[in-house]
């Protein structure tokens, strides 16, 4: 009996069991936390890259001032009907051109139909909307002379955001490039509530004259100012309405007719059934373009020029 091993007191055994249980619980929690951190990283990396806001309130619910005008303005040119508008899609989108002007065909145009090389000898002069042409990689940056806040006046007096960072104006760049075609897509930044359209139109005409002189072999084209959505935050700041935009477009179209320049009515291609800029094509500010919208624009231009 003398070689019998001493027994541990019960309370010590119980204490050790409790501690082991606590240790296991803590370790379990630590593992859970580690897994949750890892999993959250995996989930976030699988999220889509593009976060786009949808849903523009119906125009019918809004103040009718601009809406009435916009609908009236586009009544003769019903909006584009689209079948698909997801960004990054390679699936062709089909819309029907319904502009009644003689310069626009009635044939259906396949969006995504445009070919980058078709515009490889051309130059687009524009504002922030046009910067999206190369930011979204729809065109090479050398084919675009644009800048945020650009106006017709600035196009021959101030630096554009050029691929080479040379600080040249759009006019100077055009002069050196001597493009095959020049597309002017300006006017949005000069429009505002109560503004004098004649000043903007005058500088627009001056730009055309200067480009014609600097690039005698280039073919000039003018593209309409595009519409805004019913709840455009960008328009709220400037006070611009679709009524003002349409009035300006009408004047530019008349100027083009006078000067023998082809005018593209992109405005009516981007409006929805209410006459506002389709929310499917508009950036969250209700004025700028989503990536897909450039496909619509370039396909429209190419189809008209082909």
């Amino acid at each position: 009996m003398s070689d019998r091993r001493p027994k541990l007191p019960k309370y010590i055994i119980v204490l050790n069991i409790i501690m082991i249980v606590i240790i296991l619980v803590i370790c379990g929690l630590a593992f859970s936390l580690a897994f949750s951190v890892i999993n959250s990283g995996d989930e976030s990396s699988s999220e889509p890259y593009y976060v786009e806001t949808e849903d523009t309130p119906s125009a019918a619910e809004d103040e009718p001032t601009a809406a009435t005008t916009a609908v009236t303005t586009t009544a003769a040119t019903p909006p584009v009907s689209m079948t698909k508008q997801t960004q990054n899609t390679t699936e062709p989108i089909v819309f029907t051109t319904q502009d009644t002007s003689s310069s626009v065909s009635d044939d259906p145009v396949e969006v995504g139909f445009y070919d980058k090389s078709f515009f490889s000898d051309d130059l687009f002069i524009g504002d922030s909307i046009s910067t999206g042409l190369y930011l979204y990689n729809k065109l090479d940056q050398k084919n675009v002379a644009a800048a945020i806040g650009y106006t017709p006046y600035k196009a021959y007096t101030e630096a554009a955001d050029l691929y080479d960072g040379s600080g040249r104006s759009a006019l100077e760049y055009a002069s050196s490039l001597q493009p095959k075609r020049i597309f002017i897509m300006l006017g949005s930044n000069g429009l505002s509530a109560g503004g004098d359209l004649s000043i903007l139109e005058s500088s627009y005409r001056t730009l055309i004259e200067k480009l014609t002189e600097a690039c005698p072999d280039s073919k000039l084209y003018c593209i309409s100012v595009t519409p805004i959505t019913a709840d455009s935050s960008a328009a709220e700041y400037s006070g611009v309405t679709n009524e003002i935009i349409s009035e300006f477009n009408t004047d530019i179209k008349a100027m083009c007719s006078e000067l023998g320049i082809k005018y593209f009515d992109l405005y009516s291609k981007l409006t929805d059934s209410t006459g506002y800029f389709s929310s499917e094509y508009s950036e969250v500010d209700g004025m700028h373009f989503k990536g897909t919208t450039y496909d619509v624009m370039l396909s429209y231009l190419q189809s008209e020029l082909s």
Partner: protein, 161 residues
């Protein structure tokens, strides 16, 4: 012998409890920081895109960096950066891995100049978006440079850093 055994058992139990507890609390922090450090620039920017609301963003290419930021390809070993594609808003951000700390400092300077240029551009263009510049940042940590102009710069710094 009995007393020694009891004392040793108690000490070992306490040490294990304290050690494991310490591991559990600091372990989550270290694993999180290690996780952030081990992420590639593309993984970090993807996480930010998912976490914060942005307008339509496009990923910048090496050519864009050279033309827009004066950051040359030979200065960096890797990067991922995004900008608002439509030009409507000043949102942009990125993570740049420089080849050395001197180049990282140059990238930081280039990004600071970029932010100032954007601040001037958007001040008149979209005043409602200027709040995004309030706490925008450029940070250098060794050879890594991060920056962001967005609606939640605090979250951006946490994710990109």
């Amino acid at each position: 012998m009995k007393k020694i055994t009891i004392i040793m058992a108690g000490i070992i139990s306490c040490a294990m409890l304290a050690g494991c507890g310490n591991t559990a609390s600091s372990g989550s922090e270290s694993s999180a920081s290690e996780s952030a450090a081990s992420k590639t620039p593309a993984e970090k920017t993807a996480e930010l895109l998912a976490a914060v609301e942005f307008p339509s963003m496009v990923e910048l290419t090496s050519d864009d960096l050279s033309a827009r930021y004066s950051i040359e390809p030979d200065e960096i070993s890797g990067f991922s950066a995004y900008i608002c594609g439509s030009g409507a808003m000043p949102d942009e951000f990125g993570v740049f891995e420089a080849v050395d700390e001197d180049n990282a400092a140059e990238i930081k300077t280039a990004l600071e100049e970029r932010i100032e240029k954007q601040r001037d551009t958007y001040a008149d263009y979209t005043p409602g978006e200027m709040y995004k510049f309030d706490d925008c940042f450029v940070k250098q940590n060794g050879t890594t440079v991060i920056y962001a102009i967005c609606a939640d710069n605090s979250a951006a710094e946490d994710i990109l850093g």
